[in-house]
């Protein structure tokens, strides 16, 4: 039986068969990011408007006069995907209110890479989340500016060698720890925040569907493998995504109304070395440096577990107005 027949047998209820980001785009072989976008789109369906920041996904999918997009899509500058998405959402709302367009919910989605989300786009993203637009924002995090040639971003992990944090005699590569934007979004008190990875497609699609149903802002952080920038084999893309989860480097969880839940349990975590050793960007790391990374990964995971165990949904919290009676 061919793969596609298998799909009809097992997956039609799980995965939308329709493609919203069609083939023929110019992404590199083994690109994890374009797979992430494709799966996110399957979760979104076609009643959306996507505002896409500058980056790999914009370049590979929209080289004029072609487009890979089967849904309404606008490309904007580097820093403002969330601001443009805010404008689209507010514009649609105004037109609906005045009866100029059909009264139905069209989900507005902002998309950007790690640079467009965590560095130059953070201000616009924070503003959009704070104002409470009915929109979703997805960060496709491949841990550096890959479109311009592998420059470090604030999403680049400690020790990774990039062209602007080169490893060598005087430097171990990136010297700072990765910024945790999902946590920053949680601190904005948005109703839904989730981390996803295309190596876990059903988990990813389910979270996108959930975020789509949320009335108000939601944020999804998508961890995507970049063979070109990570100096890894293109056939390892799915495996590296799984390894990132299995080593606890990138735990998959969701935060619904303040309540944390880990969605992919890792019974026996693997050492970070299993993940690091397949990537050229970490090749120079010494055992001491690997140990330092391992320690930090445990520390971060412990912090997450603490939140999972101790934080409750907003509706279950201690103080409420009833106390005044």
């Amino acid at each position: 039986m061919s793969l596609i027949q298998n799909f009809d047998l097992y997956a039609p209820k799980l995965v939308d068969r329709k493609e919203y980001l069609c083939s023929g785009h110019r992404a590199c072989q083994g690109c994890g990011e374009v797979l992430g976008v494709r799966l996110v789109c399957k979760g979104l369906g076609d009643d959306v408007v996507i505002a896409n920041a500058t980056g790999c996904m914009e370049i590979v999918s929209s080289m004029y006069p072609f487009t890979a997009w089967e849904v309404p899509w606008i490309h904007v500058a580097f820093e403002n995907a969330a601001a443009v998405a805010s404008g689209v959402e507010a514009g649609l709302k105004a037109l609906r209110r005045k009866g100029k367009i059909a009264d139905r919910d069209v989900k507005v989605v902002g998309m950007a890479g790690d640079g467009g989300t965590m560095d130059i786009g953070l201000q616009a993203l924070s503003g959009a989340m704070e104002r409470g637009h009915d929109m979703m924002f997805v960060c496709f995090d491949n841990e550096a500016y890959m479109n311009t040639g592998i420059q470090r971003s604030s999403g680049t992990p400690m020790g990774a060698s990039t062209t602007t944090s080169p490893a060598g005699k005087v430097s171990m590569g990136q010297k700072t720890w990765k910024k945790n934007v999902a946590e920053i979004m949680v601190a904005h008190n948005v109703p839904y925040v989730a981390t996803v990875c295309p190596s876990y497609p059903l988990d990813l699609i389910r979270k996108v569907e959930k975020a789509k149903k949320v009335k108000g802002p939601s944020y999804i952080h998508c961890f995507t493998v970049c063979p070109t920038g990570w100096r890894s084999s293109s056939e390892l893309t799915i495996a590296l995504g799984r390894l990132a989860v299995e080593t606890l480097i990138f735990p998959l969880y969701e935060v619904e109304d303040g309540k944390y839940r880990i969605t992919v349990d890792v019974e026996n975590p693997r050492p970070v070395e299993d993940y690091l050793k397949h990537q050229g960007r970490f090749r120079h790391l010494t055992p001491d440096q690997t140990k330092m990374i391992q320690e930090r990964v445990y520390q971060e995971y412990n912090k997450l577990l603490d939140k999972v165990e101790n934080l409750q949904a907003w509706s279950d919290l201690k103080y409420d107005l009833g106390m005044l009676d």
């Binding site: 500058a77 130059i120 602007t164 944090s165 080169p166 060598g168 005087v170």
Partner: protein, 360 residues
């Protein structure tokens, strides 16, 4: 004498900046000038007193330059067209606060996102100030190769001498092309003239301040006049241009940067068939070398302005000539790069249309 080396244009500017005593660089990724930022990342790491920062945005990078310049360092940032637009606020502040800095713009096709091919679409933005308020920046337009090294050093000297931001206008082609250059001798930053205005902590002396907010109208007017007087001095002192085969020319092509290089190739071709054509290449775009162009008008009547845009510098040519010549224009915008043959054809047809071959 230093040795001749083969280097990429963007690396030449970066290395020349370090040799001119630049010890602070802040940048942000953008094509086609990433090689510049990458070179600075590794070169500054190798220097004991060098600082490289990859900022979180272009706006952050230019504001880091403001800070470093206030502290007294020779500071620099670089970007390409869309990124330079983001830096304009900072450049306006540099001008207002009279702080030296060097900004490299590796121009690409625009407007908006445009593309990543070489262009000269930012001429107006650079030469008219670019940001808000009544100010100018010195704008240098290297022709590529050796001049990238020469003008980078000059840029830092001008910036310090006049306490003003200096823009180097390059383009995607210049930044990528590898050419032989002789790099200048390295300057020891400690031996540069002291900056008595710099902010450095006020222990044991009265505190200084640098600001750009002057709510008092009279003070703000005086600051504007003070800047204007400085710009007058700059306009008198530093205009520079190259004239090529203009002695007997009946038609002069006016072009800068990469366009001038292409025009030179065209002129060589039409000279072979006996057309008397020369080239006028402004090296400082602001201040524009008006006087030198005016001098030419004693002997030349016809001018062809060739730009990689839809016509920007042509306005400065007309302003310089003030009617003392016929100004024609040929442009290739949006990242298109004309070939010398193409320009030769344009020159040839203009030459004959104006019946220049009949003049004695």
């Amino acid at each position: 004498m230093n040795e001749k080396v083969l280097m990429r244009g963007s690396h030449v500017i970066a290395e020349s900046a370090i040799r001119a005593g630049c010890r602070f660089y802040a940048g942000y990724p953008i094509t086609p000038q990433n090689e510049f930022t990458e070179y600075m990342a590794s070169a500054m790491a190798g220097l004991e007193d060098g600082t490289f920062i990859q900022a979180e945005s272009e706006i952050a990078a230019i504001n880091m330059v403001i800070g470093a310049s206030m502290a007294g360092a020779r500071a620099m940032t670089s970007s390409s067209s869309p990124g330079i637009s983001l830096k304009q606020e900072g450049i306006s502040f540099l001008a207002a606060q009279e702080l030296p800095a060097v900004i490299v713009n590796t121009m690409r096709g625009g407007p908006g996102m445009g593309n990543i091919a070489p262009s000269q679409g930012d001429y107006f933005q650079a030469t008219r100030g670019g940001g808000h308020g009544d100010y100018r920046t010195i704008v240098l337009a290297p022709g590529g190769g050796q001049e990238l090294a020469d003008l980078t050093g000059k840029a830092f000297d001008y910036a310090d001498r006049y306490r003003t931001p200096v823009v180097i206008l390059a383009d995607g082609m210049m930044g990528q092309m590898m050419e032989p250059v002789v790099l200048h001798k390295a300057v020891d930053p400690a031996e540069l003239p002291p900056k008595p205005w710099r902010l450095s902590g006020a222990a044991g002396r009265p505190s200084r301040y640098i600001r750009s907010l002057l709510l008092d109208i009279a003070q703000e007017e005086e600051r504007n006049w003070k800047l204007a007087r400085k710009y007058d001095n700059i306009t008198r002192e530093i205009p520079r241009a190259e004239s090529y085969l203009t002695e007997d020319a009946r038609l002069v092509v006016v072009a800068c940067g990469t366009a001038a290089r292409i025009a030179k190739g065209a002129i060589k071709r039409v000279r072979e068939i006996g057309l008397k054509v020369g080239l006028f290449r402004p090296i400082t775009l602001w201040p524009y070398p008006k006087r030198a162009l005016c001098e030419l008008s004693r002997s030349v009547r016809e001018y062809l302005v060739f730009e990689m845009n839809t016509g920007q510098m042509v306005e400065d040519v007309k302003l310089s000539l003030e009617g003392r010549g016929n100004v024609h224009f040929y442009g290739r915008p949006g990242g298109s790069v004309a070939t010398p043959d193409e320009i030769a054809k344009v020159v040839n047809s203009l030459y004959h249309r104006q019946r220049l071959e009949e003049e004695s």
